[in-house]
């Protein structure tokens, strides 16, 4: 059964159709890529899935539940986490606090209990800290844990945002251009991390412009162009698909 399913999702901005009847499925454990020329609606689709935008038509079904129109925080809590195309962090917080922050809302704890420092609240705090340190270790950020997020290099910030998305052990991870604007060495590192995560069973859905990354990583690729899904298949199939080549390089005569 599909873990995440988009059914005929349509999103319009003032008459401009950003997503036109897009349907897709992502199964548990898969690593799926979403590609397409600029402005083809990839990020819009992510925003629809995560609740930042609500589609005019169609439904998004996650784990058998309709989540269309839910508030973003509720969707996040139900197990879909994401990173942003342009890194977003809590810039004034330390690296470790950023990661802890990414988990605390998932730990059910009443506001009252945490304000008055009940033992159970403290215990959850230390669980979060442990998990944060584990992830920072995995991504090689341990030495920066007390640094403010804004002082990190762009690449380190990207890794940190990945750590934050991983904190709550999401059922599905949406990555919006994880390798954009970073140097080739780091691109390879990020590629390696994504691969490792997927091998550990993490379901990942990613947008990426870097073809080298997408072709190497993904088992299945979905192509959007002008808001429509024009192709879906294995990397090899996509490479030879004339419609995809048209979308990227213009009509072939």
């Amino acid at each position: 059964m599909a873990l995440l399913e988009c059914l005929n999702v349509t999103k319009r901005f003032f008459g401009f159709t950003a997503l036109d009847n897009v349907s897709l499925q992502i199964n548990k454990g898969e690593l799926v890529g979403l590609i397409g020329p600029n402005g083809s609606g990839k990020t819009t689709l992510f925003n629809c899935i995560t609740g930042f935008l609500s589609p005019e038509n169609g439904d998004i079904v996650f784990n058998g539940k309709k989540i269309t129109g839910w508030a973003p925080f509720k969707i996040a809590l139900s197990g879909i986490t994401r990173t942003f195309q342009i890194v977003r962090l809590f810039r004034e917080m330390s690296v470790i606090d950023n990661t802890i922050m990414a988990l605390q809302q998932y730990q059910s704890e009443s506001v009252f209990k945490s304000v008055f420092r009940f033992p159970s609240a403290r215990k959850k705090e230390s669980v979060a800290r442990e998990r944060a340190l584990e992830l920072l270790e995995f991504l090689g950020l341990t030495h920066l844990k007390d640094e403010k997020a804004k002082n990190l290099s762009y690449g380190q910030q990207k890794l940190l945002s990945l750590a934050m998305a991983l904190m709550p052990k999401p059922s599905i991870l949406l990555l919006d251009e994880p390798a954009a604007y970073v140097n080739p060495t780091l691109t390879n590192k990020i590629k390696k991390y994504i691969k490792m995560l997927n091998q550990q069973g993490q379901t990942i859905f990613l947008i990426e412009h870097n073809m080298n990354v997408v072709m190497d990583l993904c088992e299945r690729i979905i192509v959007l162009s002008a808001g429509q899904k024009i192709a879906e298949g294995t990397p090899a199939e996509i490479k030879d698909n004339p419609r995809v080549i048209d979308a990227y390089f213009g009509e072939t005569k």
């Binding site: 996040a76 977003r88 809590f90 605390q104």
Partner: protein, 280 residues
């Protein structure tokens, strides 16, 4: 007076400093708390502590109604709408003659009386208000250093990201708004039982500006800084009374100096406070 400002601005810093919500209705809640307490004690003859609790709860309820609509607005419209709320409250107090006596205000508010002990002397006022201020500070300190405080900061830093890590932004904004309205009203009650008189003049932009100045100079997101700023800015004008002519001028110059170098003062205050490195 210092302590009243202390409570008012400390709770204000939750909104401006931690949540990044530029609310201009803090003085309105302050005045509301003062008016409700005054009316309660004049018409119903209730005691200080009852007033404190009842007026704060009524103010919080009003804040809840207001917040449930206004907190959905974007930052700028929120600031303007909260300012508008203050003027609405002012107009009501000015024109509802039967209840508030309009511009004449409400005189002869009784002095506090706790369990039979009348609080009359300045010293006893001081200790009573100091105790309440301390409770306020401890409570706010616990709030901002808990996960709630971290959620506040996350909303200030990046609301979209806060959302995507599962922070219910509206809920936390509401919590912050209610807490600050509650303590603003507490400060209002203390104020009216100290001056024994309240009039619509309390809803003046002057107070709005002074409270904002205190919060901003105190560094916004540091309760200690805001506390020190609150004391400094209510104490300095008093000291300067000895030089009447220069008073306003010196105050103005001081303000400009402080505004030009707020960063360094913030850091100095912080370094005094955080001598030992933060523990794990």
């Amino acid at each position: 007076m210092c302590l009243i400002y202390f409570i008012l601005t400390e709770s204000y810093s939750i909104l401006i400093g931690y949540l990044g919500l530029f609310s201009l209705s803090q003085v309105a809640f302050f005045g509301l708390g003062a008016y409700i307490s005054a009316l309660l004690s004049l018409n119903m003859g209730t005691q200080f502590l009852t007033n404190l609790v009842v007026s704060s709860i009524i103010t919080m309820f009003i804040a809840f109604l207001l917040g449930s609509q206004l907190l959905k607005l974007t930052r700028h419209s929120f600031a303007i709408a909260t300012l508008a709320f203050m003027f609405v409250v002012q107009l009501i107090t000015l024109n509802w003659m039967e209840v508030t006596r309009g511009p004449m205000g409400l005189p002869h508010v009784p002095r506090p009386n706790i369990i039979g002990i009348d609080i009359l002397s300045k010293i006893s006022y001081y200790y009573l208000y100091l105790a309440i201020a301390l409770v306020t500070f401890v409570f706010l300190y616990l709030v901002v250093n808990s996960r709630v405080g971290r959620a506040f900061i996350s909303i200030r830093e990046d609301e979209a990201l806060a959302n995507s890590v599962g922070v219910n932004c509206f809920k936390y904004k509401m919590i912050g708004f209610l807490i600050s309205a509650f303590f603003a009203s507490v400060a209002g009650t203390l104020y009216v039982h100290y001056t024994t008189y309240i009039s619509p003049d309390i809803f003046d932009l002057y107070f709005v500006i002074v409270t904002i100045i205190i919060v901003v100079i105190g560094g916004g997101d540091s309760l200690e800084g805001v506390g020190i700023a609150a004391f400094a800015f209510t104490a300095i004008p008093e000291f300067l009374r000895s030089a009447q002519m220069l008073r306003e001028t010196v105050y103005g110059v001081l303000l400009i100096v402080l505004l030009i170098m707020p960063e360094s003062i913030k850091k100095k205050i912080k370094s005094l406070w955080y001598k030992k490195p933060k523990g794990e």
